[in-house]
């Protein structure tokens, strides 16, 4: 790993703090959350609002389902050489009533995961460029017995 600066792989979708959050939006009329953030039109068919507030989404949730990538995806994915398989989880966020996909942190395999397991959001390298290290959100299992509902 180099000493290049860290940069978000996709700008504005998560904070860069130690305990990072995804950045979403919430409709000020009907309270629907949106991730990726959406500021233009509410997608609730019963709501025609164009007014949103930016919100930090819950940074913990429970695994809805999980899998892994054993084969290197095509571009725009930038693979390490050699390709390192990684786990992927869909995580149910309680307050937002939505499932968000993401890679699981390096070193955790599908054998370590189960449906319902509590996880938290962290930042990890997605790939490196000539100028910086692109980081993105990934899910990391929380110790058994921890309670994401209060840990958010």
């Amino acid at each position: 790993m180099s000493d290049k600066p860290l940069a978000a792989a996709i700008d504005g979708w998560h904070t860069m703090a130690d305990k990072p959050h995804l950045i979403g939006t919430q409709c000020t009329h009907c309270d629907t959350y949106f991730f990726p953030p959406q500021n233009q039109y509410c997608r609730n068919p019963a709501c025609d609002s164009t007014d949103f507030r930016q919100v930090e989404l819950s940074r913990t949730g429970h695994i809805w389902s999980y899998t892994n990538a054993c084969y290197q995806p095509p571009a725009p994915f930038v693979a390490a050489d050699p390709f390192q398989p990684y786990a992927i989880a869909g995580v149910q966020l309680e307050r937002e009533q939505m499932v968000v996909l993401g890679q699981v942190v390096a070193g955790v395999s599908v054998a370590d995961l189960r449906v319902g397991m509590p996880v938290e959001l962290v930042l990890e390298t997605l790939h490196e460029t000539d100028d910086d290290i692109k980081v993105t959100w990934k899910w990391r299992p929380l110790p058994t017995g921890s309670n994401p509902a209060t840990g958010a």
Binding site: P36, T67, P73
Partner: protein
């Protein structure tokens, strides 16, 4: 019934990885369907094509492309793009034209030439495109199939052996289908020995991408009677409905579901709602269905579809599979064509290929794949960006 049309011709170019221009497959399928119908090409007044987005401009205007290839004769054209449901949407356009009285007989056709490996998005840096985003983050199509498969294992107790048994079942009938690409009887051991792609799904649990073409000749019931085909199978229902907010299952290509946090909003499964309009239009229920052609993008997904079509109670598809109830000769045979497991996916042709199989089955022309006494068949598929379809064909 007032909203029915007849299917008087069906044709397919065999599926494979032929590497030819997609137009060639569509023309071959169309000519087979025309010959099957006994209708001269010059009599077709509407050409409804399923678009392909991988073959350049001719693919975007597939209806016109096929009309030109078959020889301009002044017919009106339409091109439908609805991902995996493109063929059904093209069929629905033809039905509307016929039921509106604007045309008596139409050609519906779709064909594709597919690249090797993963289907990939357009290039550049485009975070506004969810298809680009998910590939950038390392999430491919098999990721979604695997997430659904893992849910089945967790909720219903399905096993890897169940998933392999779907492949084994489908390969037994696909081996008898001259139009299928893979015509080998695979064993559970073959599946278990194939490479893991997206745990718990192995290479042989996941459908390939293929070249192929499929076509239908459809007409008004009056026209069918006029040419002595009053007994032809009929399209009794077509659903191409979109999801209902809040779509509660993470679907390709999105990285998140809708939020169901608003008052009065609940999370709703899209897949299970797709067939509802088809059943309603046809005025029949799941208990009337003789056979089903469902979109087995993965082995596990076939089990989901059987439940989404309400052919078996939720969570029981694997039990029906184990008893042989979804095999040829069973209570509700599923994918007796061999399904995507034996064909691979040729996107704009696939939904039409499903209807071709139902047509041959309801005519009793499916040979050693024949479902005895088949009277009603249903298809189901789902693709990217809120596209899905279900078609009911009956005698």
């Amino acid at each position: 019934m007032a909203n029915e049309i007849a299917i008087i011709g069906a044709g397919m170019h065999p599926w494979g990885k032929w590497g030819h221009n997609f137009v060639q497959y569509g023309v071959a399928a169309a000519r087979e369907a025309l010959a099957d119908a006994g209708v001269p090409w010059q009599d077709i007044r509407f050409v409804s094509g399923g678009a392909t987005v991988r073959c350049g401009y001719p693919g975007y205007v597939a209806g016109a492309t096929f009309a030109q290839a078959l020889g301009w004769q002044g017919a009106e054209v339409n091109t439908s793009y609805a991902a995996c449901a493109s063929g059904s949407q093209a069929l629905a356009a033809a039905r509307n034209k016929i039921l509106a009285g604007e045309c008596e007989v139409a050609l519906v056709v779709g064909a594709d030439t597919t690249p090797k490996g993963f289907l990939a998005p357009a290039g550049g840096y485009r975070p506004e495109d969810p298809d680009w985003v998910r590939f950038y983050l390392g999430i491919t199509n098999p990721t979604y199939f695997a997430l659904y498969a893992r849910r089945r294992m967790d909720i219903y107790g399905d096993t890897l052996e169940d998933f392999a048994a779907v492949k084994v079942k489908n390969s037994r009938v696909g081996a008898k289908n001259p139009r299928a690409r893979y015509r080998k009887c695979f064993t559970a051991e073959d599946v278990a020995a194939s490479a893991m792609v997206a745990d718990p799904l192995r290479l042989m649990d996941i459908c390939a991408t293929s070249d192929g073409g499929a076509a239908l000749i459809v007409c008004s019931l009056e026209y069918a009677r006029k040419i002595g085909k009053a007994d032809a199978p009929r399209v009794a229902g077509i659903s191409t409905t979109t999801p209902t907010f809040a779509s509660g299952v993470v679907e390709m290509p999105d990285i998140a579901t809708d939020s169901a946090a608003a008052n009065g909003v609940e999370a709703i499964s899209y897949r299970s709602r797709i067939p509802l309009k088809a059943y309603e239009e046809a005025g029949i229920g799941p208990e009337d269905v003789s056979l089903a052609e469902v979109y087995d993008l993965s082995t596990a997904l076939e089990l989901d579809w059987i439940e989404d079509l309400q052919l078996v109670p939720r969570g029981e598809a694997a039990a029906w599979l184990r008893r042989g109830d979804t095999a040829l000769g069973g209570r509700i045979p599923v994918n007796v064509s061999g399904g995507l497991a034996c064909f691979g996916e040729a996107v704009p042709a696939q939904a039409l290929a499903q209807v071709c199989e139902l047509t041959w089955q309801l005519r009793g022309e499916a040979g050693d794949r024949q479902v005895k006494g088949a009277k009603v068949g249903i298809t189901a598929n789902q693709g990217l960006f809120g596209h899905g379809s279900s078609v009911i064909v009956k005698k």
